[in-house]
């Protein structure tokens, strides 16, 4: 398969950060390719570097060395603003801490990525997808008026509303109880299947990882195939 068709391709990427005692090697020499519509779980203990990897793959940060292609773009050759444009066009996110804006209603939070893209029908599409995640009755509620599970469902709706090619999820069930966690996972995978989205999921929850098509382990800044 040619590089350009792969949604994500990382070639020997490393990340170091300066610390008081010298430099800290967070990631070392990682190669990773993710195919279209593939679901990939990155598992590992806390501090193993999996969130850093996710940030690099999604273009939120730059590697110290190596090359990353995201949706066909060499994002390592881009500046932050160019990467932002790639994210806007191709990428969706789901976070452990939901990251809903407290002053926006569920509907407004969901529609925000469409507004950034300048979509005229942002409200309708946001309402549709909120209906799809079972929150049709809660569109006017603010995050503080929603339970944790409901907040994460709004976050899922926001992630899928732009029909992204690639979805990055960082511990999406980490802040939820097991029942709510299971429901969110169900929703995540069914939306993913409906939209044919490529999914990269970071978690230390083995069961969640088990629902992905492929699984890689992260330890001491290196990747190991499962």
């Amino acid at each position: 398969m040619k590089d350009t068709l792969l949604p994500i391709q990382a070639d020997s990427i490393s990340k170091q950060v300066p610390v008081a005692a010298g430099t800290l090697q967070i990631l070392r020499d990682i190669d990773l390719a993710v195919k279209p519509a593939e679901t990939l779980a990155v598992v590992g203990a806390s501090g193993s570097g999996k969130s850093t990897l996710l940030g690099l793959l999604a273009g939120l940060d730059s590697p110290s060395s190596g090359r990353i292609r995201l949706a066909g773009h060499d994002i390592t050759a881009m500046d932050e603003d160019q990467r932002a444009a790639v994210r806007a066009a191709h990428v969706g996110f789901v976070f452990q801490s939901f990251q809903l804006l407290p002053n926006l209603t569920a509907l407004e939070n969901t529609g925000l990525p469409l507004e950034i893209l300048g979509a005229a029908d942002a409200r309708e599409r946001a309402a549709d997808i909120l209906d799809r995640v079972g929150l049709a009755e809660r569109t006017g509620h603010y995050p503080r008026q929603l339970s944790g599970g409901e907040q994460q469902r709004v976050a899922l709706a926001r992630a899928f509303v732009t029909r992204p090619d690639i979805l990055f999820a960082d511990e999406p069930t980490g802040n939820l109880d097991s029942e709510n966690g299971r429901r969110i996972a169900d929703l995540l995978f069914s939306l993913n299947a409906e939209h044919g989205t490529t999914l990269v999921l970071v978690t230390h929850d083995g069961r969640l990882a088990g629902r992905c098509g492929r699984r890689v382990n992260m330890a001491a800044g290196q990747l190991f195939d499962h």
């Binding site: 939120l60 932050e80 444009a85 994210r87 806007a88 996110f93 990251q99 925000l112 990525p113 907040q151």
Partner: protein, 834 residues
């Protein structure tokens, strides 16, 4: 992001922010800043234009040219070509006759243009109903003061002779707007038309005449005329300014202008502190939003553009609302003051509106831009790692920008370099000292902690733990208190100074020429009419003729040869004590009381003009002989105190052998005016000067000034309130979470309340100390350098302000933190999580 998309997104985000109440305090601070600016701007603009109009009545024109020879006709031609209105008067002392009676009077001839500013007031008969007159007497008529009628024993309709002219007295003159302040040189006024002057044949070569040409017109024309006129002035000709003629009015105006400038500046600065506070708080609350927006595809510039847009809309809204509030406030003020203000208040100026809008942008952008720039720098990675805060901007940049902005604003406001530098340097000094002092106090407090009562120990520890934030907040409160104290203290001092200038029952009538044998009957008369009698002062008339043996005209410079003080008789008096508000500038007050040498104390400015110093010998001419005295001291005189004041005061006994009359003053309200008729009958030789019209004019102006000053204080207090709110609000989220956590861990409400109390109260106490210290520093400087007042430490402030500040900030802080106690901790923690 294309601009069109930004323009669609930014307003939506702004609306959502607004809905959440996040922007309320920011907008409130902005509205207070702009509101106070425009209210004060409109109010002082209108009042000072009106005061200036009234004040110019006092000298008779926008520009007045005075001299002792007729002016070159080219001057009037030039004024006319610039479109100025012109009036001409000539004043001289002459004798008028009616039947067998003779009277020395001050004649003033006026042309048809007179008066240019203000109006004359006259009555048809003695003490009749007053009416206003837009012009002086027509040809063939004379308007005279009541004294003339008393002295000549005539009434309205009778005639009198001025030189060879026969004039019919048609009106009694009660008020001349440009009369001036020269009480004692007054002979009673006879006003006639200029065309009768030549016919009277009274002015001959060598006659002593004071000419005044008055000009009025648009300010630019007046200024360009002044520019043309000044270089062409001949010796003995001068341009009159308000300050020379009516020092008390111009001084009050100047101080009021400086004060309103200072007060509105303080209101503005306080509001700016509030804006900066809220702006920083707003920005910190939006790190997550920025990170998320970046994550969702906004570039750094998009973020900057979104927040800049929000600021601009806020500035615009603040500008409009602030202008509206300012306009309402000044309309309210003017309506409330209706009776006190003259009827001729000019309309609203456009300048305060424009500068208010401009100010909104400058203040909001200037004080929040550093915070907004930090938002731009938030890393998108913050969505994954919450601890990633943007790097702080260079402190030098932020503080440099702020100091620059503040200094610029101050200068723009006050136009006074001393004031600006004084406040900036004062504040910097206060900040420096206060910073050091607080650090010291913190150290002390930390060491004393074990001895602090257990109940409040946690609160004090909390205060100490948040040291950096607490220092900043304490300083902000301290500066706020300082600024408010400065404004309050200055106001109190200025108003009491002005009110002392003209007490409610200040004498408004002066009486001259009471003979020695009449002093007893005079006291009886005053008692019989229940009038409070002020003491009488002895007066000897004498003309200063020689200084150290040389004729005085040779002693002075050519320009001063026409000084009125050496061309007329002076009123000389004696006194054992120096008058209460006179101050010695040189020499001693009666150094030796045992000798019978004649000694004199001379008014300092006159001494300077005439080149007189202590030790000089002055020779006077009285009646038929010359006599001399040695100058033993120079002193300043407050001419504006409405008491008899004297250029020359001699030691007791120095003038025992000279003919003496007595002068006095008394207060008479307008309903009692008819007493004057009885008075003139009982004491036919006395001269009564009616000063009530002039006094009322001055009182009105001072009253306006005081009210302006009072109302401005209101804005300062409002601004102070907003700062307090904003400062407390900025730390509220953290406090909420902490409080909730502590409650979850089992702390009771009582304990938490005591904690909050002791924390805010200790902050208030420290801030109070800083405020008092700073205000003392700034006030000492301002009093000496700007307002020319005597500085004395305000002990009450040291005692009262720190406890009061502790109480008020304690209440405000606890009230703002009531949410911590009012809501279940779990709700607060969950919201914090969301």
């Amino acid at each position: 992001m294309p601009i069109s998309r930004l323009l669609a997104l930014a307003p939506r985000l702004l609306w959502r922010e607004w809905r959440s109440g996040e922007l309320t305090i920011l907008l409130l601070a902005l509205v207070v800043a702009i509101g106070s600016h425009t209210a004060i701007g409109h109010f002082t603009d209108r009042i000072s234009r009106s005061m200036e109009i009234n004040a110019h009545h006092v000298i008779g024109g926008d520009l007045v040219l005075a001299g002792s020879r007729p002016f070159d006709p080219g001057i009037r031609a030039q004024a006319a070509s610039l479109g100025l209105e012109i009036a001409q008067t000539a004043r001289f002392v002459s004798v008028v006759t009616s039947g067998d009676e003779l009277l020395l009077v001050a004649v003033k001839s006026v042309d048809d243009g007179y008066p240019l500013k203000g109006r004359l007031r006259v009555t048809q008969e003695l003490y009749g109903e007053e009416e206003v007159a837009d012009q002086g007497p027509p040809a063939g008529e004379a308007w005279v003061e009541s004294r003339v009628l008393h002295a000549l024993g005539i009434g309205a309709g009778d005639s009198l002779q001025v030189g060879e002219s026969d004039l019919v007295v048609t009106r009694v003159l009660t008020y001349e707007p440009d009369r001036g302040n020269n009480f004692y040189s007054f002979n009673p006024r006879v006003m006639m038309h200029a065309s009768d002057l030549d016919a009277s044949g009274i002015i001959q070569p060598g006659s002593r005449v004071w000419y005044r040409d008055m000009f009025a017109g648009p300010p630019e024309a007046v200024e360009s005329f002044r520019g043309w006129l000044e270089p062409t002035l001949e010796p003995g000709e001068r341009i009159l300014a308000l300050g020379e003629d009516r020092p008390e009015v111009s001084e009050a105006l100047d101080k009021a202008r400086q004060y309103t400038g200072l007060a509105s500046l303080v209101a503005l600065l306080l509001a700016a502190v509030a804006i900066a506070n809220s702006g920083r708080h707003y920005s910190e609350r939006h790190y997550d939003t920025s990170a998320l927006l970046r994550c969702l595809g906004c570039s750094q510039n998009d973020i900057l553009a979104i927040y800049l847009f929000q600021l601009l809309v806020l500035a615009l809204a603040g500008g409009i609302l602030g202008n509206l509030a300012g306009w309402l406030a000044q309309s309210g003020l003017l309506a409330a003051l209706g009776d006190l203000l003259p009827g001729n208040i000019p309309g609203l100026g456009f300048q305060p509106v424009l500068s208010g809008m401009f100010l909104g942008f400058v203040v909001l952008l200037g004080f929040t831009l550093p915070s907004i720039l930090r938002l731009r720098a938030v890393s998108p990675q913050r969505v994954l790692r919450k601890d990633l805060a943007p790097l702080p901007l260079s402190a030098r940049l932020v503080y440099g920008l702020t100091v620059l902005l503040v200094t610029g604003l101050m200068w723009m406001y006050t136009g006074n370099v001393t004031l600006t530098v004084g406040i900036v340097a004062g504040s910097a000094l206060v900040l420096l000292i206060a910073g050091g002092a607080i650090a010291g106090l913190f150290g002390l407090l930390a060491r004393l902690l074990p001895r602090v009562p257990v109940v409040i120990r946690a609160g004090v520890r909390n205060f100490l733990r948040r040291r950096r934030e607490a220092v900043a907040q304490t300083m902000a409160f301290g500066l706020t208190i300082m600024a408010m104290l400065v404004v309050v203290m200055l106001r109190t001092e200025l108003i009491s100074t002005w009110e002392e200038t003209i007490p409610e029952d200040a004498p408004n009538h002066f009486v001259l020429n009471i003979q020695q044998h009449e002093t007893g009957p005079w006291d009886d008369f005053m008692r019989a009419h229940a009038l409070p009698a002020d003491p009488l002062y002895p007066v000897v008339r004498g003309r200063l003729i020689r200084v150290n043996g040389a004729p005085v005209t040779e002693h002075v410079s050519k320009e001063d040869r026409n000084d009125e003080s050496i061309n007329r008789e002076l009123n000389l008096t004696w006194s054992a004590d120096i008058p209460a508000d006179n101050e010695l500038t040189d020499g001693r007050w009666w150094p030796d009381t045992s000798t019978d040498e004649r000694m004199v104390s001379v008014e300092a400015e006159l001494a300077e003009r005439l080149g007189i110093s202590t030790g000089d010998e002055l020779t006077f001419f009285t009646g038929d002989r010359n006599w001399s005295a040695r100058v033993t001291s120079l002193r300043t005189v407050k001419w504006d105190n409405f008491n008899p004041n004297f250029y020359m005061i001699f030691n007791p006994g120095a003038m025992d052998d000279l003919p003496t009359t007595w002068v006095g003053s008394f207060y008479l309200d307008s309903a009692q005016k008819k007493i004057l008729v009885d008075m003139m009958r009982a004491f036919p030789s006395i001269t009564v000067l009616e000063m009530d019209a002039i006094l009322n004019q001055v009182k009105t102006i001072i009253g306006q000034v005081v009210l302006a000053v009072e109302s401005i204080l209101l804005f300062v207090l409002l601004a102070g309130f907003v700062v307090t709110l904003s400062a407390i609000q900025t730390s509220m989220n953290e406090r909420l979470q902490e409080g909730a956590l502590v409650r979850t861990l089992g702390a009771g409400r009582r304990l938490l309340r005591i904690n909050q109390w002791s924390e805010f109260a200790s902050m208030g106490f420290l801030a109070g100390l800083i405020g008092v210290m700073g205000s003392e520093l700034v006030i000492a400087l301002l009093y000496r350098r700007v307002f020319e007042l005597d500085y004395q430490p305000t002990w009450w402030a040291w005692l009262m302000v720190p406890p009061l500040a502790a109480l008020l900030i304690g209440i405000a802080g606890t009230w703002s933190s009531r949410r911590i106690l009012a809501r279940p901790p779990i709700t607060i923690l969950r919201e914090a999580g969301a």
